[in-house]
Symmetry: C2
Subunit: 361 residues, 2 copies
């Protein structure tokens, strides 16, 4: 016996067969005499035996390993706060169940490599982190029969992928409703990244609620962003240079909302006195920065946790029919959205004056 001890070494030392050793070491000791069990156990302990995972996986035809795949778009994991939270939830569920996690970050320039690295028998299932439109990962079902759960993107049914995500539509509807309830009827919107489904879902909900309330949608107040804070600032510049201004702006996420507000501060437009701002995501750093942003809070950790749970369920039952789990978001009212009752209740002229006051540049 040179190198690491193997099952055969243990069997030899215990004076029994490999089968017996294997069985006992796997806890199937009820079928053996106490004496035998003890001999095997102590032999294994004395040799410092540790079963070889690779050999075990080969024989069992499963690996108890889950792949976590980042969309090639989000190259560096660092700047993807979303991924961290989800990953934490995934870890929290998988770790106690003795599953391992393989981190897969495909290069954008070599999509074929993705399949070579994923569907090669080294993982049992996969969690896809926020695949964006046009991502090769979406073609999953064409290339692989491995169970997969997508998180962070509520995808169209046609992709046949199980999904866990927050309910973007419902949450944005709630937020929009609330802003309207505060008396606002002139509301702008900053859209998210055009390749993210969530961006479209949030925008659609915004438009729907406005329509339901009979509020006209002013397209010049709906600006394109990309979820980055800078795009919020750019949107601010575009919006605030207009003659006629909304009394409130909803951004499709917090980063853009903060970018927007920073530009407001530069232009000395008080938030929320002149213009109310709402975000979406309840990003950790915004709170830490001391900004009292009214926003939608949602549990990304929970998303990861449930995704892992769903995946394991599919693994165990073999039932891999696509499922969709949507987690509701929560409206968090802080201070960047002020009631517009004062404005709404007084006749138009007054409101107009205030609006114009806000548009000075």
């Amino acid at each position: 016996m040179r190198g690491k001890p193997t099952l055969r070494d243990v069997a030899q030392r215990a004076g029994c067969s490999i089968t017996t050793t294997s069985n006992i070491l796997q806890g199937r000791s009820h079928m053996y005499k106490e004496d035998m069990v003890q001999r095997v156990l102590s032999a294994a302990h004395e040799l410092g035996y540790r079963p070889n995972a690779t050999a075990r996986n080969l024989a069992r035809r499963r690996t108890t390993t889950i792949g976590v795949v980042l969309d090639p778009q989000h190259a560096r994991i660092t700047h993807n706060v979303y991924a961290h939270d989800v990953l934490d939830g995934v870890l929290a569920y998988l770790e106690p169940r003795d599953y391992d996690i393989r981190l897969i970050t495909p290069r954008a320039n070599d999509p074929a490599a993705v399949w070579r690295r994923i569907d090669n028998g080294s993982i049992d299932g996969v969690i896809l982190i926020a695949p964006v439109m046009g991502s090769p990962l979406l073609e999953w079902r064409h290339y692989s029969s491995l169970p997969a759960v997508a998180v962070g993107s509520t995808l169209p049914d046609e992709y046949l992928l199980s999904q866990v995500d927050i309910d973007n539509d419902a949450a944005m509807a709630t937020l929009t409703e609330w802003v309207i309830q505060q008396g606002h009827r002139a509301i702008g919107f900053i859209k998210g990244h055009p390749l993210h489904w969530s961006a479209h879902q949030r925008e659609r909900a915004f438009r729907r609620i406005l329509s339901q309330h009979g509020i006209p949608i002013r397209e010049e107040w709906i600006l394109q962003g990309d979820y980055g804070p800078e795009s919020g600032a750019i949107a601010a510049t575009q919006l605030l240079s207009q003659k006629d201004l909304p009394t409130a702006v909803i951004a499709a996420n917090d980063d853009m909302a903060v970018g927007f507000m920073q530009k407001c501060r530069e232009l000395e437009i008080p938030v929320p006195e002149t213009i109310s701002v709402a975000g979406f995501d309840d990003a950790y750093w915004v709170q830490r920065m001391g900004i009292q942003l009214t926003t939608i809070q949602h549990d990304r950790y929970q998303v990861g946790y449930l995704a892992a749970q769903l995946l394991l369920h599919q693994l165990e039952t073999g039932d891999s029919r696509p499922q969709r789990i949507l987690i509701p978001g929560t409206l968090v009212v802080r201070r960047t959205v002020a009631p517009a009752y004062a404005l709404a209740s007084v006749p138009t002229p007054n409101a107009t004056i205030l609006t114009e006051g806000g548009s000075r540049q």
Copy 2:
């Protein structure tokens, strides 16, 4: 051929032996006739053959997988900004080299499980993220012969572990030197988490430089922190209630420096006018918050990158003698440290008045 195609299926279709197939598919085709090579290649392609990684690993006795192990102390990866940056660097080096990454987050309550999950033939080497004092991971050499590189902790030699870290000592020395050059001679310090080696190294450098300049060390100005922002605030309360105040405070990291400054603002003590503050780390969120903190910037990404490089080098050469790579930090001068020349050059009374002015509470 049911299930996924194997090497045998490909061989059968190409009408040759498994050996031939394996060789050609691995690129050793120079020893075969062009005709044969083509037959194998197209057979593999037609069947959609993908080699089974588990079987390959077993036969090759290596896995081209690196484990990234988080210290049980840092439970949730989310809140460990350090780990993200390092991980990015590790990924950047490993991914193009076709290494896979296994994320290992041991539970604190079951240290034995660590070895069961790590040293079981499923990985070729390991990167240990910031092991703290008393961590079971430090006993690495007792349990495993797997190559390992520790990052984020400059450990004593006795652990026989290879390491990549920033040069805490030199960087803190530079920072302290600079604060002194600004004319400060009354300097306080907020210590980092007592279980982190970096905390001790930074403190030691601070003390050394003060001594070298013949500046007396006032123990009542050296406060315990734990690297968290709250601990910076607590230290502020403790320090600022003293009768005699330093003109500058160096915190062992940015988080504590910001916590300290927030308390200063509450107490209406202007930074840097009354008290200068310096941090360490150049944390991303601080910049984003718009705080112009003078600090030490260091490249965590680089740390991860070099750690991966070192590990692969050890894997390839078999030379696993412990090495230590220290990366220098860079002083970033922003606005929270003001020159104290004005104070230092005038006679004591004046300075005392200013100090007292700062200590009102």
